[in-house]
């Protein structure tokens, strides 16, 4: 049992990972890194094994200080990197710096810290290309969406994944990339969760694709298993729930409104302008048309991860906001 560093620790995913690592005694102590001051996030980490570190990862100097001081001092062996800008509307150099350049720098610095041996990245199923001609069951070799028209939110995620994958075999670290299904929980950056915040959910008329969603419990368990695994690799992390989009909407207690595809972009643009939500239809256009379900057989074989905890669908009459 050794110390683990978790970036993005103040997000819902980060908090779940930190709690699980300590509850299951998979880490002697966890260095939780977040951008917020400690006073603002104190209640998130009641366990005495958590050492909270405030750092802005987009600043190379802060990253360096983090790696060559507390990480070295606490003899951290594993770094779990989950920090990514969650807002789908945030764009620009600063966002790219946090998403991509900080990951590149973090990887580079981890190689130079002698105690660090393992690097685990939280990647996303959204990086996979979806179209009518692609298989509906996505394995790790499925094409990545590298289209020039893709939004920065998507491009940054693809770039982070690929730059980490490129380090496998080049780096002295054991690198594991976990491409996780959409986590249907607040504060996870889930586009689907934000989509379901509206009472009326517009869906492309004539299309009802199959989706796979993961609970926070399963997501954190996958990371707990990943830190004790051996070797490097890329792993799809599916969730327990595989169902059509219409069923997701119904189970969430929302009303489904089928609308011709051409009208969805303007409708969701209008929704964003008036209500200010984070859901972007352009990021989800393909997944709302074509089925995409993660094939998790590699994670089952090598990480011993199989999804176990289904989504807790809201009880009828209870709003999940």
């Amino acid at each position: 049992m050794s110390a683990v560093l978790v970036t993005g620790a103040t997000t819902a995913v980060g908090v779940a990972i930190v709690s699980r690592l300590l509850a299951e005694q998979r880490a002697s102590e966890v260095l939780a890194v977040g951008a917020e001051p400690y006073e603002a996030v104190r209640s998130l980490f009641p366990h005495p094994g958590v050492i909270y570190l405030q750092a802005d990862l987009s600043h190379p100097r802060e990253l360096r200080n983090l790696l060559f001081s507390p990480v070295k001092q606490h003899r951290v062996e594993t770094v779990i990197h989950t920090a990514l800008h969650r807002s789908a509307h945030a764009t620009g150099r600063r966002v790219h710096q946090l998403n991509v350049e900080s990951t590149r720098e973090l990887l580079r610095l981890c190689e130079r810290v002698p105690t660090v041996s393992t690097f685990v990245l939280r990647s996303h199923a959204e990086i996979y290309r979806q179209s009518a001609t692609e298989p509906e069951l996505l394995d790790e070799r499925h094409p990545i969406d590298l289209s020039v028209s893709a939004a920065q939110w998507q491009r940054d995620r693809a770039e982070v994944d690929l730059l980490t994958c490129a380090s496998i075999g080049l780096s002295s670290l054991q690198i594991r990339v976990l491409r996780c299904a959409d986590c249907l929980a607040p504060g996870t950056g889930s586009q689907l969760f934000d989509y379901l915040q509206s009472q009326l959910c517009f869906q492309p008329l004539g299309f009802d694709p199959m989706l796979n969603v993961i609970s926070l419990e399963d997501l954190s368990r996958a990371f707990a298993l990943a830190i004790t695994a051996t070797g490097s690799g890329v792993f799809n992390i599916p969730g327990k729930d595989t169902l059509p989009l219409s069923e997701v909407i119904r189970k969430w207690g929302r009303t489904r409104v089928p609308v011709p595809s051409a009208l969805l972009s303007p409708l969701y643009w209008l929704r964003n302008r008036t209500i200010g939500t984070d859901f972007r239809y352009d990021l989800n256009r393909f997944r709302f048309h074509y089925s995409a379900v993660m094939n998790g057989s590699r994670a089952a074989e090598q990480l011993h991860y199989t999804p176990q905890v289904p989504i807790e669908w809201p009880a009828p009459g209870i709003d999940r906001g």
Binding site: T133, P135, F207, D208, L243, R250, H289, S291, P316
Partner: protein, 283 residues
């Protein structure tokens, strides 16, 4: 709280009104891998299968008066591939094979028809097909289905088969080798299938060169309905193309081409036998 999936009541209505008691019993035992919400990983839902078979009953039973020969050749379980000739301008032959197999296998097996690439892009049809068990024709999909022990329905001629002119009826277009490759790799027997009758259902055909949603053309006919031809579906003896071969041989183009030719010969032989044995196009 777990809430079961809700299927449109029209499906239950169709099943109740169009299926006999025996057929309803047959369809109550549909075998599929439920992912937890009543759907399989590709979106198949047994109520939709039931509804589709019921909706096709007027065509299957009364219009085309389908007669199946040799359904006992379809394995009761495990991966297998139905390889059929394709004809008739629109894929009614696929729907008739689908109904015939679901109704005459025990336990009821849903043939997973593999469609051309453009089909998952068609609104409404893509969803309807997925709920009834059809999948897009990508390599990943068919391998996943065979890994799960499913029964595939493939038309190895592809669109050129269904697009034939009337004068070329019952002459097979070259078979694609994918069917042989899959059979060898997954050790899945191929059951040759010959559909007799479909070639005559639309004797006059037109093609609108419209490529809506990626379709190669839009088929048209001056005859508004298919002619009430008598369909005969012949299922041949299973071909074990993988005998004496290893999974790695599926990569050998010479082996797969020879195996595909063997499948084509078997289907052509079934067609010849079927044409000889039928009494007439409408009888």
């Amino acid at each position: 709280m777990q809430r079961m999936s809700r299927t449109p009541s029209v499906l239950h209505f169709l099943a109740r009104t169009l299926l006999g008691k025996q057929e309803q019993e047959q369809l109550s035992g549909i075998d599929f891998l439920d992912e937890g919400h009543g759907f399989d990983i590709f979106g198949l839902h047994p109520d939709w299968v039931k509804g589709m078979v019921a909706a096709l009953q007027p065509l299957y039973k009364h219009w085309f008066r389908v007669t199946g020969h040799g359904t006992e050749n379809i394995p009761a379980r495990g991966p297998a591939i139905l390889a059929s000739n394709h004809s008739g301008m629109i894929p009614l032959d696929g729907t008739m094979i689908y109904s015939d197999v679901v109704l005459h296998t025990s336990p009821a097996r849903v043939p997973r028809a593999v469609t051309d690439h453009f089909v998952p892009g068609l609104p409404v049809i893509s969803t309807l097909y997925a709920r009834c068990g059809t999948v897009g024709g990508s390599r990943g999909n068919v391998h996943a289905l065979l890994d799960r022990g499913e029964l595939l329905l493939i038309f190895p001629e592809g669109v050129p088969g269904i697009d034939k002119d009337f004068r070329d009826r019952y002459q097979l277009r070259p078979f694609r080798v994918g069917v042989a490759e899959m059979s060898i790799r997954h050790r899945a027997p191929v059951i040759p299938v010959a559909v007799i009758g479909a070639e005559e259902q639309f004797p006059v055909r037109l093609r609108l060169p419209l490529h809506t949603f990626g379709a190669p053309y839009v088929p048209l006919s001056p005859i508004p309905f298919p002619l009430p031809v008598h369909y005969h579906i012949h299922y041949g003896q299973p071909l074990h193309l993988y005998d004496g071969l290893s999974a790695a041989d599926a990569d050998d183009p010479v082996i797969t081409a020879a195996a595909a030719a063997r499948v084509q010969e078997s289907v052509q032989a079934l067609i010849e036998a079927g044409l000889k044995s039928r009494l007439g196009v409408f009888i």
